[in-house]
Symmetry: C2
């Protein structure tokens, strides 16, 4: 019998990374590891679902980084289709139900990891549960959507929501020869950008043949006589639909944590310390889509569901459980996405986020190209930059362009982390050769304009 038992609730990115890292650091004689996973899969890429639905990734299993069997070979007691129902922090135990047999039992823990993930926001609309209406959060969701696509002959798809899941699904369904309509409450698509930059995405989507309806709240899902979806209704109009995809966003899945009295933040996510320990609980860690993270630019907690953070959290938690030391300093809010050949990126704060954080700022927006203007295939790239008034500190960057545009946001992500001013950004020694950049990289051009804006704004 092992000296200690680790229980992990949730077997995707954060949970399995934590379990794997803990196992690397402590052998099975020293640490028993039990993982409860409700679903059928472990360690898969939810971010890859749009590319599987769109047909670029041929099969579901390619999205699975490690199967339950592979985890078990590493001496992890992985209990699939097992749902955790209750955490008893005083008794240090978790009650769970085997979803196949219906049996329930308590499992004691010395150390606990909560990695319960997020759930898609599913507004309570009439018809929302009708056949043909799909979320795309899990592999099971993706399979259900694909089943609908293959069993339905109609070619009209409506996507509710125009965040990154929405636009990626628009691309996926366009690839499958659907007429795609994206309906969003927002002023422009890609609400992760300021509306002036979202406008560029809107125009590009128009050119791709995607219909975008903005400022439209969905009020109802209309069904036909067969009970299947037939249209999406807003206050003003009806949009015929053979299939509907919900891409409205996600929220932390923290009912278990809440019932156990674990501390939650204003966005409903678990609150942790720098080592990803749940605040006030020395033996409980939490990570991935169920936690809130510190935004280093605004100084406030945010909820960001993203596999790259979940994997880092898992690694850090596993180190902590294993007796090592690692911390997660926070995020700057970087996100990249694409619709067909249009690349979209952001990091740091948008205008309204900066205002909410009490920051005064100037903005600078420029157009440049991804390569030297004379190089074949040079394509326009727009960069918007926010800089703090007076100090000139970089606050955020948004980019919309073609090949090579999105990952340029990493330059700003590192500069934000380092607390650089836009004047410091101007002189950064970035890679230059004609196939890769104009002689002034577009990010530097934006920074030059931001420097002028900061000066012009005075003190």
């Amino acid at each position: 019998m092992a000296a200690e038992r680790l229980v992990v609730i949730g077997g995707d990115a954060a949970g399995m990374s934590a379990a794997s890292q803990a196992r690397r650091m402590r052998g099975p004689d020293d640490l028993e590891i039990v993982v409860f996973e409700r679903g059928h899969f472990t360690s898969y890429s939810a971010c890859g679902i749009p590319y599987w639905v769109g047909g670029e990734v041929a099969e579901r299993d390619k999205l699975i980084a490690r199967t339950p069997e592979e985890h078990r070979e590493r001496d992890i007691d992985l209990r699939m289709r097992t749902e955790a129902l209750e955490i008893d922090t005083d008794g240090r135990r978790v009650r769970a139900r085997d979803l196949e047999s219906g049996e329930e039992s308590w499992t004691a823990y010395d150390k606990l990891v909560v990695a319960t993930g997020a759930r898609p926001v599913r507004p309570e609309l009439p018809g929302i549960d009708a056949p043909g209406v799909h979320g795309v959060q899990t592999l099971d969701d993706g399979q259900a959507l694909l089943d609908t696509l293959t069993s339905t002959s109609g070619r009209r798809a409506v996507i509710v929501g125009a965040g990154y899941i929405g636009v990626e699904m628009a691309e996926a369904l366009l690839r499958r020869d659907y007429e795609v309509t994206v309906v969003t409450r927002g002023e422009e698509p890609m609400s992760t950008l300021d509306p002036d930059m979202g406008r560029l995405v809107h125009e590009a989507m128009d050119a791709m043949g995607i219909t975008t309806v903005t400022g439209a709240e969905v009020t109802k899902i209309l069904t036909g006589e067969d009970g299947r979806v037939r249209a999406v209704a807003t206050a003003d109009a009806e949009y015929p639909a053979d299939v509907v995809v919900l891409g409205i966003g996600v929220e932390p899945r923290t009912e278990l944590a809440r019932a156990a009295g674990l501390p939650l933040g204003e966005h409903g996510g678990l609150l942790t310390d720098r080592a990803m320990r749940v605040r006030g609980h020395q033996d409980i860690w939490a990570g991935g889509d169920c936690v809130e993270v510190l935004d280093l630019v605004s100084g406030r907690e945010r909820h960001i569901a993203l596999g790259t953070h979940a994997n880092k959290h898992g690694q850090i938690i596993g180190s902590g459980v294993g007796g090592g030391y690692a911390t997660f300093p926070g995020v700057v809010g970087t996100a990249v996405s694409k619709v067909c050949d249009l690349e979209i990126a952001r990091t740091g704060l948008r205008e309204h986020e900066a205002r909410e954080a009490g920051l005064q700022f100037v903005t600078a927006t420029i157009e440049s190209t991804n390569s030297a203007g004379y190089y074949p295939g040079a394509a326009v790239m727009a960069v918007k930059m926010l800089a703090e008034r007076r100090t000139g500190r970089l606050l955020g960057v948004q980019i919309v362009g073609r090949e090579g545009a999105a990952k340029r946001v990493d330059i700003a992500a590192v500069a934000l982390t380092a607390g650089m001013t836009v004047e410091q950004v101007v002189t950064l020694d970035l890679g230059y050769a004609p196939p890769f950049s104009p002689v002034w990289d577009p990010v530097l051009v934006a920074a030059r304009k931001a420097v002028s804006a900061v000066r012009a704004a005075g003190s």
Copy 2:
């Protein structure tokens, strides 16, 4: 008559950027601007020459950002084909010769900018001046090479040197259906990388059908009865050649500066202060390929001929001349390049550079992919990272891979500038989505391995 006169020696990137920025800040009544340029062109992209020779850029004029006429329209007295012969710092005047008429005259200055650029290293080898042997430093060089290519029927090209100019010219001549042989003294091609990373370039060049001869010093250029080049000889072998391109590197063109007693560094480049003023001379600035720059990682001066630096220098000098304030903090040694679809990048220090700087270090090399492994077209990318022993400070990164590999080096360039440790790099919030990156960006994977290497090395 203007209050002051600015004289600029050299009308390419640094010189014309300085002149243009000074003009923006001071009108013609306040500042007269005279520029001497030896050649036929101003403000052109020398870095673009390989793509013009290779046929991707259709015509020479596309490489010219601004013509002499355009500069003159902005009230810059640009004297083409005029060579500066002497700087008299006591008398504050420059002697120059009109290369067409042969006339010489002195021009007085209040402020002087030295932007004399670099010249290609041209070893004193027998036959080096034979027809068919070409440098590729200036537009005139590029035109001469193109004339040779169109007038010669043979299809064998030998490139001497395998730095970035060498490999870019290898691509250009491959595109023109030449049999290409690259001859280098180095252990591997791309001497801007450590040999273990250069090896990856070598293998990729083999696969492209480029022959690379390493460890080979060229001893002679052999000519035929017609006086034209017929082969390149090393100590061991002869390589038949219908055309030879010299890509051995460049050195600062600073005879004028030396004769005038201006301070030169150990690489022969001018030494300036942070505002790009020549040290000890309040009214003389220098920038571009004729200066040495501070390497922020090693703390030593380097000579780096690169358009992106030259443009920044020009901008800063123009601000200074115009009465503004801007500084150039230094470089971290970032360079990106490509051979066909192989992308090559570096920033910071290589192993021998770190040793020369007195730095002890560990290395970590990893292989990952440019996008999620399951995403179509995912291609292998190798990242090598150097970190300082004990402190874990990032010292350098080298990357060899396919699309999306090279500009990832910017992440490291910013982190180097900020003085980050590899542990700080691991938690950077970089853009992640399956088309753009695995869930752990390759740079982060390298940093994780470097963290382990730093720990393993102990104190």
